[in-house]
């Protein structure tokens, strides 16, 4: 029950992605700025991977975030971190971007299904 109480504080959606994805999701109203803390990161070609990693870790430690949305192509850059993240909260969802449409072959859930029936 104490765990459930902490769930109630988690009500933000964070996003890591290219400028168009972030702009769109902020238009949908998920953006939140609290002092120096933001719940989004715009990734472009110049963004170092260490910054993406640091932001992802920061989001996973933030107890106000319930969901992290991340572009699939950005997620590929920090795959190890994503694989190591096994907690229920925040939940991570890989989303398609303008230049990288949804690829079912890279979908983690469908991979699990294949594994289940492949055993």
């Amino acid at each position: 029950m104490t765990q459930f109480a902490s769930y109630k504080d988690r009500n933000f959606i964070a996003v890591i992605g290219d400028e168009d994805s972030v702009t769109g999701l902020l238009l949908a109203g998920i953006g939140h700025v609290n002092g120096p803390k933001k719940n989004f990161l715009v990734v472009d070609q110049k963004t170092p991977i260490s910054k993406i990693e640091d932001t992802f870790i920061e989001f996973t430690k933030n107890k106000e975030i319930a969901i992290i949305l991340i572009n699939q192509h950005v997620a590929n850059d920090i795959r190890q971190l994503l694989d190591d993240h096994d907690q229920a909260f925040p939940t991570v969802l890989e989303i398609p971007s303008k230049d990288h449409p949804y690829d079912p072959e890279k979908d983690s859930v469908l991979k699990r299904v294949q594994r289940l029936f492949g055993e």
Binding site: I13, T23, A28, G29, I30, H32, V42
Partner: protein, 219 residues
């Protein structure tokens, strides 16, 4: 044994239907995002370069769309890991409703005042409404559309609608994903039960077979 098998079949069927739901949901998300990106590109074209970038984001933004996590009851403790559900709460809508309600209450107040035509009462009531108005104004969250100008192209509004719908679908997808993971755990437990049962059956059959073999040898 039959009971376990029927349970296993049911779990598998539900699991497969959830997966097809999951795939359908992904198709919807892809469609929404495709439309959203197309409209965003159109906006960039009409507004000109550099008018729709991260530089225009409002540094004081507050989340209008939030998540509420609720826990499903009646699920076994072993599956606790995935037995939660997400739902979207729209701050904009709630605020709009509050404002509308306050406006309507004000109009009722005003009409009653007019009927009474009492000047003193009118003054006191307007004072009260002014007092209640102030804190409600603070609650209003700016529509992110206005970061990019007051008169934005309709394509940006369309893009916003697509992104909002896409976000709703994403939350639905996460709920389906949780259900899939829960069902998968259930399926694995049932499969293990079945295997145990089969092993016990084969063990109990083995001594009978051995006895038969010895009897045949003797004869």
């Amino acid at each position: 044994m039959e009971e376990i098998c029927t349970k296993l079949d049911e779990a598998l069927l539900e699991y497969l239907s959830l997966i097809s739901k999951y795939q359908e949901n992904w198709q919807q998300i892809s469609k929404e995002l495709e439309g959203a990106f197309m409209q965003l590109a159109h906006t960039k074209y009409t507004m000109g370069p550099g008018r729709l970038t991260q530089d225009q984001y409002d540094g004081r933004m507050q989340a209008a769309t939030r998540i509420l996590i609720s826990q499903n009851l009646g699920v076994e403790e072993e599956e606790k890991h995935y037995n939660h559900q997400f739902s979207l709460i729209n701050g904009h809508l709630e605020n709009d409703e509050n404002i509308n309600e306050s406006e309507s209450s004000q109009s009722i107040d005003n009409s009653s005042i007019l009927r009474r035509r009492n000047v003193k009462e009118l003054e006191t009531k307007t004072d009260n409404t002014n007092k209640t108005k102030k804190p409600q104004k603070k609650q209003i969250i700016r529509d992110p559309l206005h970061w990019f100008g007051l008169l934005v192209p309709p394509s940006l509004r369309d893009s916003q609608k697509h992104f909002k719908q896409g976000l709703v679908n994403m939350v639905n997808l996460l709920n389906i994903r949780n259900e899939i993971l829960e069902k998968e755990a259930q399926y694995r437990i049932l499969k293990q039960e079945k295997e145990k049962f089969m092993q016990e059956l084969s063990k109990s059959k083995e001594p009978v077979n051995e006895e038969k073999n010895t009897q045949e040898n003797v004869s």
